[in-house]
């Protein structure tokens, strides 16, 4: 009786999971299918059509798609790099040192994520014009800090707080300098947090649309903005649009796969008395 029940339970569980998987994956599958359809069959066919690579050819070789992709890469990777370089020390300070208004500062950093981007983008646009950083890599990397920095600081701060301060003391007594302690003892312990936060920050920066739409123009065109170009005024090339979208998702996926092995939890367990 009992085994029957648990069998039924696992069947229901698996059915539900399959339904969810289809639900979650179908839009993606549909998008990939669209990339192989000629324009004429976009609306008229579902699964049976005449597959073509024409969309890929047009997008990759007849537009500036690769340039947009490169811009996106530069801006997103640059933003994450800046966030890591500045955010990790900030997170360390917020976790370890006691100073006045510490929690206020931490909250202030988090609060950058509260307001919708559209709310701040107009004043930012004016500031960017005045500073002559409108439509530049620097400008976008800078404004992307609003997206990536709070995330990184808060996640990494939590990881630093989980590390007992005695570990640093022990390493000091063992004869290590602060930088050696940081790179040999602390970095391996915060790595899972750092990697996952950096990955998320990268994806958020990559997917950002409002900021590059308003704060960039012709020099710098991240992919998210550029994709809209495939929706022409007269004709909508959904096939090409699908190719552009599919390809633009690839870097984040590749990035995630590359760092997957670092996403282990609980590395700092067992250091101190439980």
């Amino acid at each position: 009786m009992k085994t029957n029940k648990s069998l039924l339970g696992s069947i229901v569980q698996n059915v539900l999971l399959v339904i969810y998987a289809v639900f979650a994956l179908f839009p993606l599958i549909w998008m990939v299918i669209l990339t192989f359809k000629p324009d004429a069959e976009i609306y008229t066919t579902t699964f049976v059509f005449h597959p073509t690579l024409n969309n890929y050819r047009v997008v990759l070789f007849e537009t500036d798609y690769l340039r947009y992709l490169r811009d996106s890469l530069i801006v997103s990777a640059g933003a994450v790099a800046v966030s890591v370089l500045a955010g990790v020390p900030a997170a360390y300070a917020l976790a370890r040192y006691n100073f006045k208004k510490k929690e206020d500062i931490a909250f202030q950093i988090l609060s950058f994520k509260f307001a919708p981007e559209i709310l701040v983008v107009l004043p930012l646009f004016m500031i960017f014009q005045k500073l002559h950083i409108y439509d530049s890599y620097f400008g976008l990397i800078w404004v992307y800090q609003l997206i990536s920095m709070p995330l990184l600081i808060w996640v990494v701060r939590g990881y630093f707080e989980d590390i007992s301060v005695e570990i640093e003391h022990a390493a000091e007594v063992d004869g290590y300098s602060w930088y050696q302690i940081f790179f040999k003892m602390l970095l391996p312990l915060i790595k899972p947090g750092l990697v996952s936060a950096a990955l998320l920050a990268f994806i958020f920066a990559w997917n950002s649309f409002t900021f590059p739409l308003i704060l960039a123009g012709t020099n710098v065109q991240p992919i998210t903005v550029a994709i809209t170009k495939f929706l022409g005024t007269g004709s909508a090339h959904y096939g090409q649009l699908a190719v552009a979208a599919t390809l633009s998702a690839l870097p984040a996926i590749v990035f995630a796969l590359c760092i997957q092995k670092h996403l282990v939890r609980g590395l700092s367990f067992g250091a101190v008395k439980g």
């Binding site: 005695e166 003391h169 000091e172 007594v173 367990f269 067992g270």
Partner: protein, 383 residues
């Protein structure tokens, strides 16, 4: 191997004064135990010596050299942390090798391997070397933390309750082992504990710390037999010392002691030095201190014995403790195991007055005791 001196160290955390004018002079090659209740400031003293914390006032000296401005890495100390502070991403072997791989104390890998094998064999953990700290029990972690310190030959070993989480058998074995290591290495060691047995058996000298102050420094015997006040007397010794409030009166050239509870008067056995001290101090309200082994009991009425009732009888391993009660006064005494003792039955107690010590009832400060001169000689008393 260094002489460690602390002069008037004061350390505050916000409004809390953790250390209040601590002065210690720890001799070269000495095994010095810091003993005191939780929160007394023992760990903070170690941290100040290791250079992990900076004292607000005062001077830390190694061999007469002022170390206040030397950072922890350059002080050449080895420390065992109370919460182990192992590096979780490293195996036991790498944890133990870590001090010998740092730039300052670098040794070649062959030496490291040999040293780790030696230490791990001694600590009975050579089978654990390839594990990660998360795969160890608390006792094993503690041994790794000890091992990480013992692979080095520092100027001073600082140990913060290194045996607290070991099981009783291993703790006893390690206690002996530690003492031997220290004798062999001849390294100055400072050892923090709140276990009175450890303090007594390990320490060449013991420093009693309470509320950020040094209360008494001396050999274990000196502190046990001549505690400087009632706090120390109660801290040292298990079961706890009996403190019997009463009144001293001079009579016929001698002294009598009248117990506050029950009003029984004892004629104190003659001790010239003790009586001279009484004459000098002239105090009448005192607390008499008597260790539990200096009380005799009988279950049948005896001449001169106090009639009490049994409050509790509990075994503490190889012996038992009877707590007798007379009015509000409880008396602890040692008895053999396996007695048939019923709670509230009558018990007759005799005080071995010639082992007693006396404290001022008001200030709780030690006044004098029987055979003081003799005990001073045995306990290597330093004034």
């Amino acid at each position: 191997m260094a002489r460690i001196q602390l002069e008037n160290i004061t350390k505050k955390f916000g409004k809390v004064t953790a250390l209040d004018g601590i002065s210690l002079d720890i001799k070269e090659n000495e095994f010095f135990v810091l003993f005191g209740p939780a929160g007394a400031g023992k760990t903070t003293i170690l941290n100040c010596i290791a250079g992990i914390q900076m004292p607000d006032e005062g001077v830390v000296k190694f061999d007469g050299e002022i170390m206040n401005l030397v950072d922890a890495a350059h002080r050449d100390t080895a420390m065992v942390f109370e919460n182990y502070a192992l590096y979780p991403q490293m195996t036991v072997y790498d944890n133990m090798a870590s001090p010998l791989r740092s730039k300052l104390y670098k040794r070649d890998e062959a030496y490291i391997k040999q040293k780790i094998e030696e230490v791990s064999k001694m600590m009975k953990m050579d089978h654990l070397l390839q594990r990660l700290p998360s795969q160890l029990s608390n006792g094993q972690k503690q041994r790794v933390a000890m091992g990480r310190a013992l692979v080095r030959s520092p100027r001073v070993f600082l140990m913060d309750e290194p045996l607290a989480h070991l099981d009783a058998k291993l703790r006893n074995a390690m206690r002996t082992e530690l003492k031997e290591i220290q004798v062999n290495f001849g390294t100055t060691s400072i050892y923090v504990t709140h276990d009175f047995m450890e303090a007594m058996s390990l320490g060449d000298r013991i420093g009693i710390i309470n509320k950020g102050k040094v209360v008494q420094i001396g050999t274990g015997d000196a502190i046990y037999y001549m505690p400087c006040n009632e706090f120390v007397a109660q801290l040292m010794g298990d079961p706890e010392i009996n403190l019997i409030p009463g009144r001293l009166e001079k009579k016929d050239g001698g002294y009598t002691f009248t117990m506050q509870e029950g009003g029984r008067t004892y004629v104190l056995p003659k001790d010239k030095d003790l009586f001279a001290k009484f004459d000098q101090l002239g105090a009448s309200a005192v607390d008499m201190g008597l260790r539990p082994q200096n009380l005799k009991y009988s279950f049948t009425p005896q001449e001169g014995y106090l009639k009490c009732t049994v409050y509790s009888y509990e075994s503490i391993g190889n012996k038992s403790v009877i707590v007798a009660e007379m009015g509000g006064q409880q008396l602890r005494m040692i008895a053999p195991n396996g007695l048939h003792v019923k709670i509230d039955q009558d018990v007759y107690v005799d005080l071995m007055l010639d082992h007693s010590m006396f404290f001022d009832a008001g200030t709780k400060v030690y006044q004098s005791r029987y055979n003081e001169a003799e005990i001073k000689a045995v306990a290597k008393w330093e004034d």
